[in-house]
């Protein structure tokens, strides 16, 4: 006997993500989900971004990590409200889910925030699959990775609203073909804006900040 079910297996997460979206709408906070592989420079990009946006824009950050509070400690120095999710208690998950964001957002308090940034766990696969109730997604790729990452991990680049190509200050020392990397991103996601910048030196930072300000 066959029993029809017809359900998305991640339905529970999607329902929770919709609840998060309603909560954030009510609090009038814009939520940005930042994703990348480990070591792409997400935290440094955020540190510089926060330094430029605050105090005009009130920013809170939820940092996801399997272990350690290292990134949250770095970000807290900017003066932003920061909270940490360590997923080892959930079995070391390699991505954040909507219920984790609900808990962290309530812990952080969103009443006085304009922008909530979620620094997702460094991984180009799983975070792309889980809706957390965000308004926009940004993927960070760095020039110390391969130009072919967008075509190797297409879903991540397909679901992102914008991409950052970080560490461009290192290009003179590498054989990385930045034009090819950008071309690969646009192959996977035509029309997606790509910001080539260095979070270390600040080179190329203004167009990214402008894009972000426009979203709010």
């Amino acid at each position: 006997m066959e029993i029809k079910i017809r359900k998305n297996i991640l339905e529970k997460n999607l329902t929770e993500a919709d609840k998060n979206r309603s909560f954030f709408r009510e609090k009038k906070v814009f939520v940005l989900n930042m994703m990348s592989s480990p070591g792409s420079g997400k935290t440094q990009t955020l540190c510089r971004t926060l330094a430029q946006l605050m105090p005009d824009i009130q920013v809170g950050v939820i940092v996801g990590d399997i272990c350690t509070t290292n990134d949250a400690d770095r970000l807290a120095k900017t003066g932003a409200k920061v909270t940490q999710i360590n997923t080892d208690q959930f079995g070391g998950d390699c991505h954040l889910t909507a219920p984790m964001i609900d808990t962290a957002a309530r812990q952080l308090g969103c009443d006085d925030l304009d922008l909530l940034i979620v620094e997702n766990i460094g991984n180009l696969v799983c975070p792309a699959e889980f809706d957390i109730g965000e308004n926009a997604r940004v993927v960070v790729l760095s020039v110390t990775e391969g130009e072919d990452k967008p075509v190797k991990y297409p879903l991540m680049f397909q679901v992102s609203d914008a991409a950052i190509l970080n560490k461009v200050d290192l290009l003179p020392y590498l054989e990385f073909d930045a034009a090819l990397a950008v071309e690969n991103m646009k192959t996977v996601h035509p029309g997606m804006p790509v910001f080539e910048l260095s979070a270390k030196t600040g080179q190329g930072f203004e167009p990214w900040l402008e894009w972000l300000r426009q979203q709010l």
């Binding site: 006997m1 029993i3 079910i5 017809r6 359900k7 998305n8 297996i9 339905e11 696969v125 879903l155």
Partner: protein, 115 residues
């Protein structure tokens, strides 16, 4: 590696779907539809599923996975095509904004009980 979480949800949904009046139900197969772009690895999912279904009505159930192709439609010129590589640029008008019609499914369609 998020297949364990997906397997756990799959088991929860399947157990809930079993008729309550059935004595000692045994599931023969679960019929899934997994999109080609969904970053779910079928053999990892099967491996996780086998581990967590021991001593449940789902023990020994087979996962029948139908792979759903990635189908894309161009918003500009309306062309629809099946992508077998991660190239999502419209082959006709090149600059068109495109949308994915299918390819991200992680669905359970039905389950089959043992006779």
């Amino acid at each position: 590696m998020h297949e364990m979480g997906i397997a756990q949800e799959l088991v929860r949904i399947a157990l809930e779907a079993l008729p309550r009046d059935l004595k000692d139900p045994k599931v023969a197969s679960l019929n899934l539809r997994i999109g080609k772009l969904s970053s779910v690895v079928p053999h990892s999912l099967t491996f996780c599923f086998e581990i967590i279904t021991r001593d449940t009505p789902l023990e020994h159930a087979r996962l029948d996975i139908e792979t759903v192709p990635v189908v894309i439609r161009c918003d500009t010129c309306g062309r629809q095509w099946e992508a077998d590589t991660p190239v999502f640029r419209c082959p006709d008008c090149e600059n068109g904004q495109v949308r994915m019609i299918s390819g991200r499914e992680i669905d359970i369609d039905s389950l089959t009980l043992m006779e």
